[in-house]
Assembly symmetry: C2
Homo-oligomer: 248 residues x 2
DNA sequence: GGCCATTAGTTGCTTTATGCCACTATTATG
DNA sequence: CATAATAGTGGCATAAAGCAACTAATGGCC
C-alpha cells in the first residue's frame, strides 16, 4: 500500500488510455476469525503498524496479490494461513464494503470473510505484528477498531448467529472430537442465552449429523460425556427448526 | 470499459510509482433484478454489445465510477435506475465474485446485488441495448449467460428462497397494494411448491405485517379478494417458523 | 331470478414439535 | 458409602402445523 498521492497528469493519461484500468478502487481482503474459548466468543485482532489508524486494533487482512491469488477465496485462505498458521475448517465470504469514506486516503473496497477455527489449533506470535484474541461482547469488542471494522465485525456476528440457527457451522468452533455439552455451550455463548438440554439434544439427534467415537471425557467430577465427530463436513443440511426456539 | 491490452512498460512504471494502484482487479457491479410475473420468477438480462461474450445475454451491470458513486450500494442503485427507470423497493448485496478466470482478459471482481421490483413498475427499452425479462426455471434461465453470471444467478435465487423463509421480502415483488392469494402465489412461484392456503394465511396474520386497505379485486369470476398494504417497509421482522413447512 | 362455476376466506380436528421438569446414570471426592 | 457434580433420558402439557371440509361472494348463463 502506498500513501503517495497520484500524479494527476499521468492518471489522466492512463484514464484516457484505458479508463477501466484507472477507475478502480483500492481492493483488500479482511478476515473476521472467530473462536470459542473460555466461555466467550473471541475474534483475532492485529495492531496496525502504519497510518492511517496507526496503533489501532484492526481485523487482519491486506491487499490482493493478483499474481499469487487466483480467486478472492484463495486470497482469504492465504491471509488466514499467514495470520494463524492453520487452514480453517470454515471460511465464508461475508460481504464487500466499499465507499469513498471508509479510508481517509481514497476510495477503497474490502471483501470481508469470516472464519471459524478451534481455539487450540492456533499458535499466535509468528510474525512481528502484535496479535491477540479479543473477547466479543454484545456484537463488539472493547477497543475501538480501525476503518469500518467495527461494522464488519458486527455484521459477521449477526451472520454467525443467523447461521447457527439453520446450519451446523458451530462444530467448526470445536476440535474434531467433542461432546454434546461442549457443543451446547458454543451455541449458548454465541446466542447469549441458555438452551434447554433436552430439546437441544433432541434436535441434534434429529439432524443426524454426529457419529459417536469410542472415547469419553475425564473432566473432573461428574459423569463422563460421550465424544462425537461431525459426520460429513461437506454436506450442508439444516435443522428443521430454528434452534434458538429451545431457549429456556 | 476498454478491450485494449495494457501497455506493459507503462504498467511497470505505474507499478513502481504506486504498487497499490496497479495491483487492483478490474471492479464492477452486477445486478440480479427479479420480478414475479405471469406465474414465473423473471430476471432482467441485457445483450452484450462488446467482446468478450459479444451477443451473449448477461446480467446488467458495469464499472464503478469513483467520482459519481460514493459507495458500492450507491453504484448499484444508480445502475438499477439506469436500467429500469425505477428505484427498487429492495436492493441487497449478494456477494463479490473475484478471480483471474472469470473474464478471459484479466483478473476481475464484481460485486453482485439483487433487487426485487414489482412487475408493472418497469418500462424497458429506454436505452439502445437489447433488454428482456427471462423466466427463471430451476435456478437458471434458458440461455447461456456471459462470464460467471449463471453462478451469480443461481446464488441469487438460493438467497431469495432462503430469505423468503424468514423475512417478508416477497411483498417487494408485488405492487404496493396486493391480495393474499397474490402473495401466496409469489411464494409458490419462488419456492416451486404449492402451499396450504389456511396455514399460509394463519402465518401471515400472526406476523402482523399487513394492513387491509378499502379496496377489493375484480378479477373475473369468483369472490373478490381483500387488498392489503405492507405495514412497515423498514421493520425487519421474521416469521416464527420456516414458511415452507406449509407445503402440502 | 336462480343455478353453477370459480375464487376467497374460515373453522375445527388431527398430528407433530416444542417447552418444561423430573428422573436416572456415572464419575470423583471425602 | 454418602454426596456433589455433570451427562443423559423420559414423559407430559402446550403450541404450532397439516389437512380437509365448510361458508362467502362474485360473474356467467339459462
Amino acid at each position: 500500500m502506498s500513501t503517495s498521492t497520484p500524479n494527476l497528469e499521468e492518471a489522466a493519461f492512463l484514464r484516457h488510455y484505458d479508463p477501466a484500468l484507472y477507475d478502480r478502487p483500492s481492493f483488500s481482503v479482511d478476515l473476521v476469525i472467530f473462536t470459542a474459548h473460555e466461555a466467550q466468543l473471541q475474534v483475532l485482532l492485529v495492531k496496525r503498524g502504519a497510518h492511517p489508524y496507526k496503533g489501532c486494533w484492526a481485523l487482519p487482512g491486506g491487499f490482493l496479490d493478483l499474481h499469487r491469488d487466483s480467486t478472492l477465496q484463495a486470497c482469504a485462505e492465504r491471509k488466514l494461513l499467514e495470520k494463524t498458521g492453520v487452514k480453517a475448517p470454515y471460511l465464508e465470504q461475508l460481504r464487500t464494503y466499499g465507499s469513498r469514506d471508509r479510508d481517509p486516503r481514497h476510495w477503497t473496497a474490502t471483501a470481508a470473510y469470516f472464519a471459524l477455527i478451534a481455539a487450540p489449533a492456533v499458535h499466535l506470535g509468528g510474525g512481528p505484528d502484535a496479535v491477540r484474541w479479543a473477547p466479543v461482547c454484545d456484537r463488539a469488542v472493547a477497543d475501538p477498531l480501525a476503518f469500518d471494522h467495527a461494522t464488519i465485525l458486527a455484521d459477521a456476528i449477526e451472520r454467525l448467529r443467523a447461521k447457527l440457527e439453520y446450519t451446523h457451522i458451530a462444530v467448526h468452533l470445536l476440535p474434531e472430537e467433542f461432546t454434546l455439552p461442549q457443543l451446547q455451550q458454543v451455541y449458548e455463548i454465541i446466542l447469549q442465552q441458555p438452551l434447554d438440554k433436552s430439546s437441544f439434544r433432541r434436535r441434534v439427534a434429529e439432524a443426524d449429523m454426529l457419529e459417536p467415537v469410542a472415547r469419553q471425557s475425564r473432566n473432573g467430577s461428574g459423569r463422563p460425556a460421550q465424544f462425537y465427530r461431525f459426520r460429513d463436513y461437506d454436506r450442508r443440511t439444516f435443522f428443521p427448526r430454528s434452534i434458538s426456539r429451545n431457549a429456556r
